[in-house]
């Protein structure tokens, strides 16, 4: 296909400006290249200084970190890193210095321990986040670090992205209606923990409400599981007739299901004309019951487990007053860890390997004796399960569920997380999901504020409402990633190979090359 440019041919022989520049760049000695790169970085920083001082400093810091990283480890790399930390200490940027010190520290841990050290440190930092969130430095362009409630939102969406990754990344079934599972989970929680069905009165372990209150009130802990199971069943029901279909037909059918669920949620205050109020229509179901461990369990653990998340907390640790949002945040972390654990265990299980086989070549997989329907249905059910749990938890956190939350955009938003992070790679999906969820909740608004404050042509301020264009921005992300790096930011090696080399339907002739037929 493309010839290997640069290493063998001299720059003059290469056709095309881009390839010639590339060849000249690779032919240069290392020292010269480093010089040019550093010069460009300093130039960039000087230019950005006129836009926003902080951004210029950020560019300098990042390039300093990059170039110190390329020094010989002892003593220069260590000395350089220490110098960077000391500079920020002198500038009294305590949080930034600490962040960099932790980051540098992790890379000095020997590789065989680092595999464990990085996740452990990451989990610890996540758990401690409410304590240091207000003390963190301001990031250029993006502004302050996200709120703890944004943190809950991010974790919930990362859970959904990890769930969708099972369907899209592991099994290769494009699901454009994942929001249906989110909706099912959320409405399950709403039906069994609110005043919605007020003609029944049934309580089972709910906390923080009058035991004579009308409606069904089941404890949230059980409901999370129930929402997952019901959503998984729903996934199986959707999957059984549709999973026989080929990839793009399956995509459109799932999209259709997503839209139908949205319509049902919006219009079922009078369910199919029967007068039965199933979803309370566009007004949604609100409020939901609180989450909590109940008085006896709380008393028994000496107050460690709060009786009720919403009416808790007078304790103050490390100078931070514990909020109910913090409790939701920690619970979400536990749920996410469970999701990640299950997803990791599934990946190389017998079922996971069957998914990979189906993704790579369905016919070959069937010939090897993999039951296609059953395996695909399991992918659907497992993906749906986590979507349901996440949806139920988020509904409880917001104490509401509205049909407007279950629009097609959300399906694409979650799909975008998976694609950006890297289909099939759980770490990539976590990073992509966290970043996009952050963008959606706070990042776009902050970025917009920054743009409107700093980018102007003379006296003309653009005053763009960036959050309004959220879906277009996700569209650009999807397009750019699919065109230039289809394996995502942190790719799974196997998916990357599939995308670049292809696994089946390999054409004999390359008709993409400007209509010349090239025999491979």
């Amino acid at each position: 296909m493309t010839s290997d440019v640069g290493s063998t041919e001299s720059p003059a022989d290469v056709i095309g400006l881009r390839n010639r520049l590339k060849a000249r760049w690779t032919a240069m000695p290392d020292r010269q290249r480093a010089g040019i790169a550093m010069g460009l970085e300093i130039l960039l920083a000087v230019l950005l200084y006129f836009v926003d001082h902080a951004l210029a400093y950020a560019v300098l810091t990042i390039s300093a970190i990059y170039w110190t990283n390329r020094l010989p480890p002892l003593p220069w790399k260590l000395a350089g890193q220490a110098l960077i930390v000391v500079v920020f200490l002198v500038a009294t940027q305590w949080s930034l210095a600490a962040t960099l010190a932790i980051g540098f520290g992790l890379f000095w841990i020997p590789k065989r321990y680092r595999v464990w050290a990085v996740p452990v440190v990451a989990i610890l930092l996540a758990i401690l986040y409410p304590f240091y969130q207000t003390k963190m430095f301001t990031i250029p362009v993006f502004g302050v670090w996200p709120d703890v409630s944004t943190g809950v939102y991010m974790i919930v969406f990362v859970m959904m992205a990890v769930g969708l990754n099972i369907v899209v990344g592991y099994a290769g079934l494009l699901d454009l209606g994942y929001v249906a599972f989110y909706a099912t989970g959320a409405y399950t929680a709403a039906w069994f923990a609110s005043l919605q069905f007020s003609h029944v009165t049934w309580h089972f372990g709910a906390v923080g409400i009058d035991p004579k209150l009308a409606g069904i009130h089941v404890t949230i802990w059980l409901l999370l599981l129930l929402a997952g199971v019901i959503t998984a069943l729903f996934g199986i029901i959707i999957g059984l007739p549709t999973l026989r279909l080929r990839g793009d037909y399956l995509a459109i059918v799932t999209l259709g299901f997503g839209e139908i669920i949205y319509d049902v949620a919006r219009n079922s205050d009078n369910f199919v004309g029967t007068g039965f109020n199933l979803t309370n229509g566009p007004n949604g179901i609100t409020p939901l019951d609180s989450i909590g461990f109940g008085n006896s369990l709380s008393h028994w653990t000496g107050g460690l487990l709060p009786a009720n998340y919403l009416s808790c907390c007078n304790a103050k640790y490390l100078g931070h007053q514990i909020q109910s949002t913090d409790l939701f945040f920690w619970t979400a972390i536990v749920l996410l860890l469970f999701t990640v654990f299950c997803s990791l265990r599934l990946q190389y299980s017998r079922l996971g390997r069957a998914w990979i086989a189906i993704r790579e070549d369905e016919t070959a997989a069937a010939a090897m004796g993999i039951p296609l329907m059953r395996t695909k249905t399991w992918a659907y059910a497992s993906g749906a399960f986590f979507g349901g749990v996440a949806g139920a938890y988020y509904a409880v956190f917001k104490s509401a569920t509205f049909p407007g939350d279950f629009y097609f955009n959300i399906s694409v938003f979650i799909l975008c997380m998976v694609i950006l992070g890297g289909m099939g790679n759980i770490w990539g999906v976590i990073v992509g999901g966290a970043f996009l969820a952050y963008l959606n909740e706070e990042g776009l608004a902050n970025t917009g504020a920054w743009i409107n404050a700093n980018i102007h042509l003379g006296s003309h301020h653009p005053n763009i409402q960036v959050p309004l264009y959220a879906s277009g921005i996700y569209g650009v992300i999807i397009l750019v990633v699919m065109l230039f790096r289809p394996e995502g930011l942190i790719p799974s090696r196997r998916v990357a190979a599939e995308l670049h080399e292809g696994v089946h339907d390999e054409p004999l002739y390359d008709i993409t090359a400007d209509n010349r037929i090239v025999v491979e």
Binding site: L245, D248, L479, I511, T512
Partner: protein, 350 residues
């Protein structure tokens, strides 16, 4: 009697009288019963709604043909198509009102203006659609099948936001230039001029398209490329140019539909394209995707279903449920008869 003669054909047609086909027949029978009751209860209302349905179906047909052309040649669901249609509507409004000064009640001058706007909208949308193909789909020609599908969604979102940035988040209104006076009123069955104009713009465009695909050299190249790209390339057909041409034609159809829709309905909003695009795609699948007459048939049927659902008075679910009904049809067609009404069953179709 005649039953004896037709017995063998019936037996071959329904080899396995399965539960599913029985359910399907019962469903169709109930639907016909529902329509019949409505027709008997209010015949004039029924016929008026029928004519509305035909009109809506014509608009859907233009959009559905774009889906079916592109699917036929690339096996790609071009999600961005509906949004190109929406931009066509916006373009019509901008061009018509700001450039040509189109407004209500201009008399016969309206005709050449609308015609010029139609050509410009078709050209603009055709070029836009071909550009989309060049940027977003061509680099992925050799990639796995789902890759261009995913970029199509991305492009759809981008174009939607282009419309949002261009015209803002609210409905914009087009000048109401089509006359609303009745052509005839036959025992309460009303038929207005604006509906006839919609049909009379749609039908020539459809005939021109059929001629192009079935009778011209370029159409032959399109059909050959749709059948087998490699073989077509060996035969000396410029495959990439043929695909670009197909996108141009599809975009032009979307532009025509955009003009008709914006002048008939007179309101356009940035997010209308995606919904209408999905309905039109359903129509294309209904008729048999890749099949041009099928797309028109499917679009008319979908238009009728929508009109009956929203207009009939006896036990109609109402406009809240239109999308749900359309998507239910889509799912049922894909699951039970993926080749559609007029399509042929292909090995990978099911």
């Amino acid at each position: 009697m005649a039953a004896d003669a037709s017995a063998p054909t019936l037996a071959t047609r329904f080899k396995r009288p399965s539960l599913i086909s029985a359910f399907g027949l019962i469903f169709v029978a109930l639907l016909l019963f529902w329509l019949a009751v409505n027709a008997v209860k209010a015949p004039s209302e029924f016929m008026t709604i029928f004519l509305i349905g035909i009109t809506t179906g014509c608009v859907y047909a233009l959009v559905a043909l774009g889906y079916t052309l592109v699917y036929g040649i690339l096996e790609l669901i071009n999600f961005a198509h509906g949004d190109v249609f929406m931009l066509g509507g916006m373009f019509t409004i901008t061009m018509g009102t700001h450039f040509f000064g189109l407004k209500h009640g201009m008399g016969l001058v309206t005709v050449p203006i609308v015609f010029a706007t139609l050509l410009l909208a078709m050209l603009a949308c055709g070029l836009l659609n071909a550009t989309i193909e060049f940027i977003a789909y061509r680099p992925l020609r050799g990639a796995p099948r789902l890759a261009p599908l995913i970029t199509a969604i991305g492009v759809s979102f981008i174009i939607e936001d282009v419309g949002l940035a261009w015209k803002g988040p609210n409905y914009i209104t087009a000048p109401d230039v089509f006359p609303h006076s009745q052509i005839f009123n036959f025992y309460g069955i009303a038929y207005e001029w604006n509906k006839l104009i919609v049909v009379s713009i749609t039908v020539p465009v459809l005939l021109a398209l059929l001629y192009l695909v079935q009778r011209t050299r370029q159409g032959k190249a399109m059909r050959a490329t749709a059948q087998d790209k490699e073989a077509a390339a060996i035969m000396g057909i410029n495959v990439n140019r043929t695909i670009s041409f197909t996108f141009l034609i599809a975009g032009a159809l979307a532009g025509a539909a955009g003009l008709i829709y914006s002048l008939y309905v007179t309101t356009v909003r940035f997010d209308q394209g995606f919904q209408l695009g999905l309905i039109a795609f359903t129509a294309a699948v209904f008729g048999g995707i890749g099949n041009l007459p099928g797309a028109v048939l499917g679009a008319i049927l979908i238009g009728l279903i929508q009109a009956f659902n929203e207009g009939l008075s006896w036990h109609a679910p109402g406009s809240d449920w239109t999308e749900a009904i359309v998507f239910t049809i889509l799912i049922m067609i894909l699951v039970f008869r993926p080749e559609g009404l007029l399509g042929e069953r292909t090995p990978e179709g099911g």
